[in-house]
């Protein structure tokens, strides 16, 4: 007898979103989380006494507004703070700043290029239109163009009409976005190197590709989607760190009646007669349910938890080919004082104003491409790309009064590093990051009280993301839409009846977005 309607494997944000929707629909839901806390990669931890870190994922950029509304996340404690400027320090104490205020931003861009200052607004409008064009795809289970089923055909026809109604130049542009490299795409718009580099960086995050690799332009758009909502502001920094996003979703799930068990590691999914019957925990406890949903990534779900013997061979083969190739690391610093970026002092800019936004180490496209070159051949970038935020500037409670925490996203740090990840390599990565940054902010080294370095191998070990890929599989075109994770199985279902997937390894993919969890819940509810 199944005592639960649904078991959700993994209390990451997608698993929790899925559980919350299912519980709200009246299902009896049990979430099983391996670790001592929920959140998966969206979690906050007091790594050093008084210093709290969003250890892994560190901003909210794509969390779906409908999820915030449906689950009433603000009522459960979600407070998203604006994160609105980007500072790109350059050589010789120069810099490029992108400000939220239109006039301030234009003036700064004009300092670098009058043409770019003008193109900037047009570029923003174009991305807005492109993001709007692609947005309906996020909320739906992606239709498979090869399928001849009536529902699929209807969905495809709907999409077809949608694209047919699109203005011609929009369609052309969208096609370009889907096929070009982000650097090439940006070359069509801008001439300022630092601007192109900083913008193209969002096209490479989480992939083992460089800004000149084809297909990266789309990822740029994927990240822009978060900005589409304008004043809704679903993007920014979650007060309390990203763990508070997970806590709010967990709160919503519990309020709807879901049960969440931590320290409950699933050893395998019970399958009999090609049907999921429940799960077995490490330690042998068997828990039965009518439906099992896995928030783990496709490799862990199918190869570890379900097992090859329960799956068709060609499906297993496709799962094996699904690419992870984690390429990023995190360096988390506890600081006794704010870093002094010399470019700010030189320009007379109040550092408190500039450091409330992000700092991007992306001086030129060539810099990024060279960083990628190292990774291509299995090395950590000697001069890596970094995306830095100082959460304590936005939420002082993240650090003791007057002190700071700094979160540094680092790329490239390939999972498949030559010789494998060792403690020495981890520390060398930390040193490379601090050395690079200290060139722009010389007081940094003395300001560091504690340092935590998280490699892709650490991400895999601690959170369970295969190869440390932050998106549960690379966000590249051949692994998106109806191809994610595997052609013909992109709609949250699996070859095992009663087994579903709800992680970022499914459409529409990674980021603290929750769309996969919500779509999966809808697929499950629709099937029942």
């Amino acid at each position: 007898m199944a005592s639960w309607d649904v078991i959700v494997i993994g209390g990451g944000h997608n698993g929790l979103v899925c559980a919350a929707y299912l519980a709200r629909a009246g299902r009896k839901v049990l979430v099983l989380e391996r670790r001592e806390r929920v959140g998966g990669a969206a979690m906050t931890e007091e790594v050093f006494p008084g210093f709290r870190f969003s250890v892994f994922s560190y901003v909210v950029s794509l969390l779906r507004p409908e999820i915030i509304r449906d689950l009433e996340l603000p009522r459960h404690g979600l407070h998203i703070l604006p994160l609105e400027s980007t500072l790109t320090p350059l050589a010789d104490d120069d810099y490029l700043a992108q400000w939220n205020d239109h006039d301030q931003n234009r003036r700064e861009l004009a300092r670098h290029s009058l043409r770019d200052a003008e193109a900037y607004d047009e570029f923003g409008l174009m991305l807005h239109q492109m993001a709007r064009a692609i947005k309906p795809l996020l909320g739906m289970a992606p239709p498979d163009p090869t399928s001849l089923s009536l529902g699929e055909l209807r969905a495809m026809a709907g999409l077809g009409r949608y694209f047919r109604d699109m203005k011609k130049e929009h369609f052309h542009r969208l096609t370009k976005l889907l096929t070009m490299s982000s650097a090439d795409f940006l070359d069509e718009w801008f001439e300022t190197e630092a601007l192109k580099a900083t913008k193209s960086a969002s096209g490479i995050i989480g992939t083992l590709l460089g800004p000149r690799s084809p297909g990266t332009a789309y990822v740029l758009l994927h990240h822009y989607m978060g900005e589409l909502d304008g004043v809704f502001r679903a993007w920014g920094f979650a007060k309390g760190g990203n763990g508070s996003v997970s806590a709010a979703i967990a709160g919503a799930a519990r309020a709807a009646g879901a049960e969440i068990r931590c320290n409950a590691s699933v050893a395998n999914v019970l399958v009999s007669g090609n049907r999921a019957k429940g799960v077995v925990l490490e330690g042998g406890e068997e828990i039965r349910a009518k439906t099992v949903v896995s928030g783990a990534d496709p490799r862990r779900t199918f190869l570890d938890l379900v097992g090859e013997k329960n799956l068709p061979a060609e499906f297993v083969d496709s799962i094996r080919r699904f690419r992870f190739r984690g390429s990023s690391a995190k360096v988390n610093l506890a600081l006794g004082e704010l870093p002094d970026f010399t470019c700010l002092a030189a320009a007379g800019i109040d550092r408190r104003a500039a450091l409330r936004g992000a700092v991007s180490i992306s001086p030129s496209v060539e810099y990024l491409e060279r960083a990628y070159d190292d990774a291509k051949y299995g090395e950590v970038s000697r001069r890596p790309y970094m995306d830095i935020v100082i959460p304590s500037m936005l939420d002082p409670e993240m650090a003791p009064p007057g002190k700071h925490v700094m979160s540094i996203f680092v790329q490239y740090a390939p999972y498949h590093v030559n010789g494998g990840w060792t403690d020495a390599r981890r520390e060398a990565l930390g040193d490379a990051v601090v050395d690079t940054l200290a060139q722009y902010a010389p007081n940094l080294k003395n300001a560091i009280l504690h340092r935590q370095v998280v490699t892709p191998a650490d991400i895999e070990r601690i959170v369970g993301l295969s190869e440390g890929n932050i998106f549960q599989g690379e966000l590249t075109l051949q692994q998106m839409f109806f191809l994610r994770p595997v052609p013909a199985w992109a709609k949250y279902r699996t070859p095992v009846r009663g087994l579903y997937q709800c992680g970022a390894g499914t459409h529409p993919g990674g980021g603290v977005m929750g769309a996969s969890g919500r779509n999966a819940a809808r697929a499950i509810l629709g099937a029942a």
Partner: protein, 389 residues
């Protein structure tokens, strides 16, 4: 010439936006930064410092001080303890609201009353035959509101319950601190002699900086007070003294302030009319509205746009409909960046005011008047435990 507050030397230097607003003949900052957004988030996430000096302040002193106020306002003042603060409206003889503010009992025979409008004459006229002196201290007393979850930590030496007040020293400066405010959050208001205003400002900024304190202006405050469901004179109601026609006036019951009307008091201004109204029930109710997102999104999608939301709180009268019939009107509204909801405060005919009632509110989309679905909800929209805790 507009007056400047005792904090102007500091606030002017900080006001990067050059956006000022008039308040009771003074200028105060609308926002300090170019956008009020971060100032708003400081209220809800850290601490915000407001210059609220333009409030009218009266010192009411003498043997009959309690008697006078007990008679003028709708709440029970005589049973207030020393150190207690009470929010209250006061009415004319017809039971229509003249103004609203706070009354603080500083000692047995001394009260401080705050008001949005001048009230000296009203207080003095009602004091005939009583042993009481009313002094307008609006100019000599400066005031700051420190609001937000970190405000308690910043005022570490102050330990006050909700709506209580104490005389104390902050950085050596003699002040009165009350656990009050206009944000619906944990917060305090600090009252100081104007000669000590600048050192107090400096002390609070220095003390608050590690906690993320931000000077904040009226735009941010407006969003917060709507979330807190707090009405604003001249915006959400017309004070009876300014009403040109009777229908412009409102009773406390019609403003959702029935809880402040103490009919057990034998005599107070407006008692008879209010007792009668309490018997028959008010015609109007002052409620919260939540604008339905999907309905709003549809209106914009029809013209090919992403949903637009007001970037600032609005304060205009907007019709609200029940079917074809006008059920009332909203007087303030805006997007709550915290709740991620479009909310409004509205006056509705009593029949339409039950929480959960679905109505329509007018909204202009691309120059055309449309209607979006709204739902009547209980105020306040945001009510964190820390407010009273």
């Amino acid at each position: 010439m507009l007056k400047t507050t005792p904090f102007h030397e500091r606030t002017a230097a900080l006001c990067a936006s050059h956006a000022w607003r008039r308040w009771a003949g003074y200028v105060v900052a609308s926002s300090y930064e170019l956008s009020h957004e971060r100032e708003y988030h400081a209220i809800r996430g850290a601490a915000a410092l407001f210059d609220v000096s333009p409030l009218y302040k009266y010192l009411v002193r003498g043997k009959d001080a309690a008697r006078l106020l007990h008679y003028v306002v709708t709440r029970d003042v005589e049973s207030m303890k020393v150190g207690q603060v009470a929010y209250t409206p006061w009415c004319d003889a017809a039971g229509k609201v003249l103004d609203d503010g706070t009354i603080a009992r500083l000692d047995e025979t001394t009260f401080r009353m705050t008001a949005a409008e001048p009230n000296l004459r009203w207080l003095q006229d009602n004091a005939a035959g009583l042993e009481v002196k009313v002094e307008d201290v609006s100019e000599s007393i400066a005031a700051l509101a420190l609001q937000g979850p970190a405000s308690r930590a910043i005022l570490e030496e102050v330990d006050l319950k909700y709506f209580r007040l104490a005389k104390t020293k902050l950085g050596g400066i003699a002040v009165t601190v009350s656990r009050t405010g206009y944000t619906g959050d944990l917060g305090y208001e600090i009252w100081v002699q104007k000669t000590d205003a600048l050192p107090l400002w400096d002390y609070l900024i220095e003390k608050g900086t590690p906690y993320g304190i931000m000077p904040a202006g009226m735009l941010a405050l407006d969003v917060a007070r709507i979330e807190a469901g707090l009405m604003l004179i001249d915006v959400d109601y017309v004070p009876a003294r300014k009403a040109l026609i009777a229908s412009q006036t409102s009773s406390p019951y019609e403003l959702d302030l029935g809880w402040t009307v103490n009919l057990k008091k034998e005599r107070f201004v407006g008692r008879e009319a209010l007792a009668a109204e309490a018997g028959r029930g008010p015609q109007w109710q002052f409620v919260g509205l939540e604008i339905d997102w999907d309905s709003l999104e549809r209106l914009y999608a029809e013209v090919g746009l992403a949903t637009r939301l007001p970037a600032m709180a609005w304060r205009t009268s907007v019709p609200v409909y029940a079917g074809d019939e006008q059920a009332g009107y909203a007087t303030s509204g805006g997007w709550s960046p915290l709740l991620k909801k479009y909310i409004a405060l509205a006056h509705l005919g009593a029949a339409h005011a039950v929480p959960g009632t679905q109505l329509d509110m007018e909204i202009t989309v691309e120059h055309r008047r449309k209607r979006a679905r709204v739902r009547v909800v209980k105020k306040p929209f945001f009510d964190p435990e820390r407010k009273r805790g």
